[in-house]
């Protein structure tokens, strides 16, 4: 391995991912499994836990200087929460962030959510590897 390559690897920091659950939804099995899976894949993961407002999530994204913001919602409140979270985060963070989401998002809402800047929705049946690969490619 050449010196330049080594330097590049040294300077390349690990991908920082914030996983958050907006709203009142308590279904956290998926968010926790993904958090653990991405950590095991070498990413730096912060799991923000439950009952966060869009404002709190945007604030945490700035604080944690994240590359990826992953939002999980299974309560059906996604249309009220995801767009607002993305908008506030974009406004405050001052850099490009990869937005992804998971949970129960009906097909009819997927295109609407994507238009707002969420790159990909990972629904039920997704493997951890699919999420990891997507992040590594796009982040």
């Amino acid at each position: 391995m050449g010196c330049a390559m080594k330097d590049k690897m040294k300077s390349k920091r690990r991908i920082r991912v914030l996983i958050a659950k907006p709203g009142l939804d308590g279904h956290d099995r998926g968010a926790k499994v993904v958090a653990r899976g991405l950590m095991n894949a070498g990413m730096e993961v912060v799991y923000l836990g439950l009952r966060n407002t869009p404002d709190q999530i945007a604030e945490a994204s700035v604080q944690e200087d994240v590359d990826v913001l992953a939002l999980s919602c299974l309560s059906g409140a996604h249309m009220a929460l995801l767009p607002r979270t993305v908008r506030l985060t974009k406004k405050r963070i001052g850099k490009s962030v990869l937005f992804i989401a998971g949970g129960i998002i009906p097909a009819k809402d997927v295109s609407k959510v994507k238009e707002l800047g969420i790159a990909k929705i990972f629904g039920p049946g997704t493997t951890i590897d699919e999420i990891r690969e997507f992040i590594e490619y796009h982040a």
């Binding site: 709203g23 009142l24 099995r29 499994v33 899976g37 409140a77 097909a107 039920p124 951890i128």
Partner: protein, 533 residues
Amino acid sequence: MQKEQERKKEFRTTVDGILVNPVYTPDDLVGFEKDTSLPGEYPFTRHIRPDGYRRRLWTMRQYAGFATVEETNKRYKYLFDQGNTGFSVAFHLPTQIGYDSDHPLAAGEVGRVGVAIDSLKDMEELWEGISLANVSTSMTINATAPIILAMYIAAAEKQGAKQSQLSGTIQNDILKEYVARNTYIFGPEPSMRLTTDLCDYCAHNVPRWNSISICGYHMREAGATAIQEGAFTLANGIAYVQAMIKKGLSVDSFAPRFTFMMACNMNLFEEAAKFRAMRRLWAKIMRERFAAKEKRSFMFRFHVQNDGFTSTAQQPKNNIARTTIAALACIMGGCQSLCTTSYDEALALPSEESVRIALRTQQIIAYESGVGDVVDPLGGSYYVECLTNELERGMKEYIEAIDEMGGALKAIESGYIQKELVRSSYDYQKAVDSGEQVVVGVNRFRVEEKLDADLLEIDERIERKQKERLKKLRKERDNKKVKRTLNKVHQMAESDENIMPVLIEAVKTYATVGEIADALRSVFGEYHETSII
């Protein structure tokens, strides 16, 4: 000669489950205590009743609630017409967490996962045309259980019913909310006070009401194995019994009204054996540990919902087959009441068609299969008896470990139970991702499909409609009276007295769930979890 290889390296009931042999014989029962009890006899391994379902079938109780009270009332009447024999209320998240529909944190959540109930007015209209003196109702509500039960009682009284006539169950199981499900408001200590206040009140005033339904379901959904589900549920049960005794009540005064709610996963024999093992173990705990005397105090009576987690979003109609298998396990396992999961529940709340098929699944088992005609039809199977023994042993080991930690409350506070679930759920995910655990339609036998046809949609206008109702209520009620009664709620929360009477008084003034919860928050504060991943 090389031995022909088996299909799998090892055969387990589930990922992280029990290792099973190719065949079972009487030798597999050696070393375990011999249990020759008949159904209806201590320790009730085979069934709590001697005659099983021969006199009366299990209660068919589909879980339902969405949008506003009008839509939900319509669904209840539909289910009743279709042969549903008990009601089961799903509340939307704001009601469960003590916020009114117009609270900023309720934005987007109104009427989504259940029905919006803000005040007694909503509760009255929810039961419009349904006589509460003559039905059995289950309510899935925990942190705000005392407020919601107060509303139910007040609504029933308005219909002319007496408290002594009311029959049903309230979940009121806060401990599992800190482990899974997560609709807590207050910390464990004040929450336990509210839980036991409710049980105490019912024991004296609403004698036919099951004042708690101790749940394994949500822990199973969060990743638990069958052994973990059984063990953590019974450990929580022990904690509640201890808390009631500490309150000064005799065990036989409340234990007959303790019930359970379990999940049912896909391994038919393990699930049926799990219910047998839990019946036996709970009876022993109640007799040996708590010196209960009443027969009913020994009985592990339970409702089941087959695991929503096993439903797939892919090829959703396959879930009808999954639900059938699980429902068989529940009935062969001797459940008292059953909610079969509708085939579209991985995608949305059930549609009228999907919930009807789920109910029909129970009816086909009940009236066509003959499965309910003989009590404990699996009893005596070497395999099922051995599984029952092994599950009981596994649960006992966990309960002993939890005892050593100082009980379920301590085990939850230290994060022990949460860590166990996180580990099991991650192991399961890895097994599915690697293909070692086959999920039909998800990691094998896939097809191209168009998702989301004919799902139940919650109209976005519901939120505005509910907020307007609330605004009207706040304008029309006697707000001075509301304020006085809320002050009284605050005072009673500070005292050691039972909270239920003042809550019944408060809901009758049309104080809302959010207002009453706020009065309690002002005394108890709020709980914030430390996430464990």
